[in-house]
């Protein structure tokens, strides 16, 4: 459903992405790993429309979306989380979700008046479900900036999911998490997959990536050096060299 | 008889046209010379923008205030005119430092709104103090070389404007030397480019920023004194137009670019004087503003994009 066709992204002389080809199937949990500077974040930004590719195309469900601005990509079903959490700090938890949910124009049946005041019953119910999903029910009226780190990460994820995406891009969601939180995140991601959302996971934390993904692509210096399921990637020499500077056989 | 009449009427159309060309060229020339003051103000705004990413709205106010103090001192002590200029420049330098401490230093870096409002408050303060002290009446400001006037063919060259331009030139050269050949200048550029990294290298940003504001204040003081010298009169009503023109010059030149500010300042000076000659004083400023809008639509980043480097 998502095709990255020979994408290059140059920043001046730096080739952040170098003729990258990727294909993600519907319903997959697809991991993208690689050493720092390999282009993982640039890839997300290109898919989301924050950067325009220097060369190549992004094709989403058969449509080339390369020229579209970010907010329009959201409407076609692409949502993301940010590596350094970008919540709206002076809005409440509920408002953070509300603003996101309201970008989805699927509710035509209820009157606009109710919708605008957030009294739309459907929207209200869905946001409450999101709060439950993130264990944030009793924090609904608190400002996002007053949440604990783990809560903020859960809200960041919930806000992206609230937009009812078909594709969800997670940018290093496990950074700074302890083992319990990682396990929690693992089960959240799986339940999102069960809801039919395709997920691309950019991550450094190997236990999460190896545990939850169906396929993994490995980037180095903006190019793909390996692709396969988690077991294949773990044994791959090129990957070991990229990360460690040497492979097991050296 | 008819032939000669025809000859004279054709001749005088030609004469009229040439006369207009000469007058317009003269106006543009005088304007460009005067524009050196705009260039200095533009450099001042751009320096502060480059260093902190903020606009110091009190800037032109501090510049003119310095000119007033210089004038006041000269009225108390019977000092040579150069002394007036020097005092003005020094006072504005000090005021630049004060403006930093009161309007920028303690406000969180990301809060642009508050810093802007604070400097606007500072502008009011300075403006009102001047109005109060002078009871709103304009005062004569001395100029140098006022009687010098050279003629080259049909063109006249005002000595006092040449002096103003010369001072502007010297100031700019000295500034560039300080920025690019001294450690202080390097620290200023470092802070402008990467504030956090500069701190990690041991640079005290508050110290550096206050120096940047002081240097800008110095330039502003020179510009204020030169403006007053060229016009011959000092009045608080000149503060707001000077602020606006300075901002326009900074934006046209490109926020953060010194060469941009210089070129834009000279250009705006000439441009404005052209329209003064062609359309008169009431409409003149409207054209300057229109020039800004044209730039904003077609070249919003100005002539040169944000960089404090010479290239």
């Amino acid at each position: 459903m998502l095709k990255i066709k020979s994408i290059s992204k140059h920043f001046g002389g730096v080739k952040a992405l170098n003729e990258l080809d990727l294909e993600v199937g519907e319903g997959d949990i697809f991991g993208v790993i690689g050493p720092n500077g390999s282009g993982k974040s640039t890839l997300i930004n290109v898919i989301c429309g924050i950067f325009q590719p220097t060369k190549g195309d992004v094709v989403f469900y058969g449509q080339t979306i390369s020229g579209k601005p970010t907010h329009q990509r959201l409407k076609t079903g692409i949502a993301r989380t940010f590596q350094n959490i970008r919540l709206f700090p002076n809005l409440t938890v509920w408002q953070n979700l509300w603003v996101a949910r309201n970008s989805v124009e699927d509710i035509k049946t209820e009157s606009s008046f109710y919708r605008w005041f957030g009294k739309s019953i459907i929207v209200k119910k869905e946001i409450e479900e999101m709060l439950e999903f993130s264990n944030l029910e009793n924090r609904a009226d608190e400002l996002a900036s007053s949440l604990a780190f783990g809560e903020q990460r859960r809200l960041e994820l919930a806000r992206a999911v609230a937009t009812k995406p078909r594709l969800l891009l997670l940018d290093e969601p496990a950074a700074g998490m302890n083992k319990d939180e990682i396990r929690d995140l693992d089960s959240r991601i799986r339940s999102l997959q069960l809801q039919g959302i395709t997920i691309i996971l950019i991550e450094h934390v190997m236990e999460l990536v190896m545990g939850v993904t169906d396929r993994i692509a490995v980037l180095n210096f903006g190019s793909k050096i390996a692709e396969g399921n988690p077991q294949e990637i773990q044994k791959n020499e090129a990957v070991q060299e990229a990360y460690l500077g040497y492979s097991e056989d050296d | 008889m008819n032939e000669t009449a025809g000859y004279y009427s054709k001749h005088s159309i030609m004469e009229d046209f040439l006369y207009e060309v000469v007058e317009i060229t003269q106006a543009i020339w005088d304007g460009v010379l005067f524009g050196s003051t705009y260039a200095l103000i533009g450099i001042g705004f751009t320096l502060i923008f480059g260093a902190m990413g903020k606009l110091n709205m009190a800037y032109a106010g501090a510049a003119i205030a310095g000119a007033y103090v210089g004038l006041a001192v000269s009225m108390v002590f019977d000092a040579p005119i150069i002394f007036v200029f020097a005092v003005s420049a020094l006072v504005s330098t000090f005021m630049g430092y004060i403006v930093y401490q009161t309007c920028f230093r303690f406000i969180p870096t990301h809060n642009h709104l508050a810093a802007l409002m604070a400097s606007v408050g500072g502008l009011f303060l300075i403006d009102e103090v001047i109005v109060l002290a002078t009871r709103g009446s304009p005062m004569n400001f001395p100029g140098l070389f006022e009687d010098a006037y050279f003629e080259i063919g049909p063109f006249g060259i005002r000595g006092d404007l040449i002096f103003v331009f010369f001072i502007g030139l010297v100031s700019t050269v000295v500034l560039l030397y300080v920025l690019f050949k001294t450690r202080l200048g390097m620290a200023t550029r470092a802070v402008a480019q990467q504030e956090v990294a500069a701190q990690l290298c041991g640079i005290n940003i508050h110290h550096t920023n206050s120096i940047t504001f002081s240097i800008a204040g110095l330039l502003g003081g020179i510009a204020g004194a030169m403006t007053a010298a060229a016009v011959g009169v000092l009045s608080p009503v000149v503060i707001l137009p000077l602020t606006i023109k300075g901002l326009i010059v900074t934006v046209i030149g490109g926020l953060g670019s010194i060469p941009g500010a210089i070129i834009a300042g000279l250009f705006v000076g000439g441009f404005e004087n052209f329209f003064l000659y062609v359309r008169g004083i009431d409409e003149r400023d409207m054209y300057v503003v229109a020039l800004l809008f044209i730039f904003l639509v077609f070249r919003p980043n100005g002539l040169f994009s944000k960089t404090i480097n010479r290239d």
Partner: protein
């Protein structure tokens, strides 16, 4: 009595002016264009009642419409430029409008008298209220009806989806566009709404003061317009009202005995306020404290 009614009128007009800047400020855009829209509203409404002999209500509404459309047109190019350049662009716009009206001469002869804007001499003879026998109290009530309506609309915005969206844009543009918010649409809408409100208050202002002079429409007015919501805090309509009452009531009128020292105090106050409470006197924190105090 008349003195107090005048003060109440001024407070009302400045509150509307402040609220016109409020919406756009919430999106994080600093615009000093409100003085320009205010001026357009003033002159338009005055020209309509004086030269074209319109009734006050359609005149003021027409002024509102014109200013709003102008704001819409100005919004598109203006909001393409970032942050501080917008400040410069809007200052320039306001000055342009002021200079335009400074040069506007449109004199008409009526009943042996010359009326209309007279270029550098200003625009006097805006006598609609007195010509039609309005008492001062009636003028105040008329004016404040509009003020209450505007306050109501802005309050409604704050508590509805549009308020949350405006503030989201103001807090983090990148995150906002990533959750599907079209930044340009929101910013231009806020600017347009501000234009409508400023034009409306300008139209009312012209008839209240009965004569217009270009000195009233300088950047200073635009600065007042943004000062009120900034001082009052950008999360509450009443903050702006309180700021207006404080500045106009206390400082301008109450301290009249200080004469010219008032402005110096005003400048000083802004500098102090911004240093100690950079998010406004009534920011989220302070409101939280007040709410808790009231509950106790």
């Amino acid at each position: 009595m008349d003195f107090y009614l005048n003060l109440i009128n001024t407070i009302g007009i400045h509150t509307m002016l402040g609220l016109s800047a409020y919406l756009l400020l919430q999106t994080g855009q600093l615009s000093l264009a409100q003085a320009g829209f205010f001026a357009v509203g003033s002159y338009t409404a005055a020209i309509l009642t004086v030269i074209f002999q319109w009734n006050i209500l359609p005149a003021v509404l027409a002024a509102m419409l014109l200013s709003g459309c102008l704001a819409f047109l100005v919004g598109f190019p203006a909001l393409r430029v970032k942050g501080l350049m917008l400040v410069v662009a809007t200052i320039a716009f306001s000055e342009f409008v002021r200079m335009f009206f400074y040069n506007l001469k449109w004199r008409v002869s009526r009943e042996g008298e010359e009326i209309g804007p007279d270029g550098t001499m200003g625009f006097a003879e805006i006598r609609y209220f007195s010509d039609n026998g309005w008492s001062n109290l009636e003028v105040t009530l008329f004016l404040w009806t509009f003020v209450i309506i505007v306050m109501g609309i802005v309050w409604w915005s704050d508590n509805s989806r549009s308020g949350a969206v405006l503030r989201a844009v103001g807090q983090d543009e990148l995150a906002a566009s990533s959750v599907g918010i079209n930044l340009t649409v929101i910013k231009v809408s806020a600017m347009t709404a501000g234009g409508f409100i400023a034009g409306l208050s300008g139209g009312l202002y012209a008839h209240q003061v009965t004569s217009l002079d270009h000195h009233s429409f300088t950047v200073l007015l635009g600065t007042f317009a943004i000062a009120y919501p900034i001082l009052g805090g950008l999360s509450n309509v009443f903050g702006t009202l309180v700021a207006v009452i404080f500045i106009q009531g206390l400082l301008v009128e109450g301290l009249r005995f200080l004469g010219d020292w008032r402005m110096i105090l005003f400048g000083l106050l802004i500098v102090l306020a911004m240093n100690f409470k950079p998010r406004g006197l009534f920011d989220q924190q302070t409101i939280g404290i007040i709410k808790r105090l009231i509950k106790v």
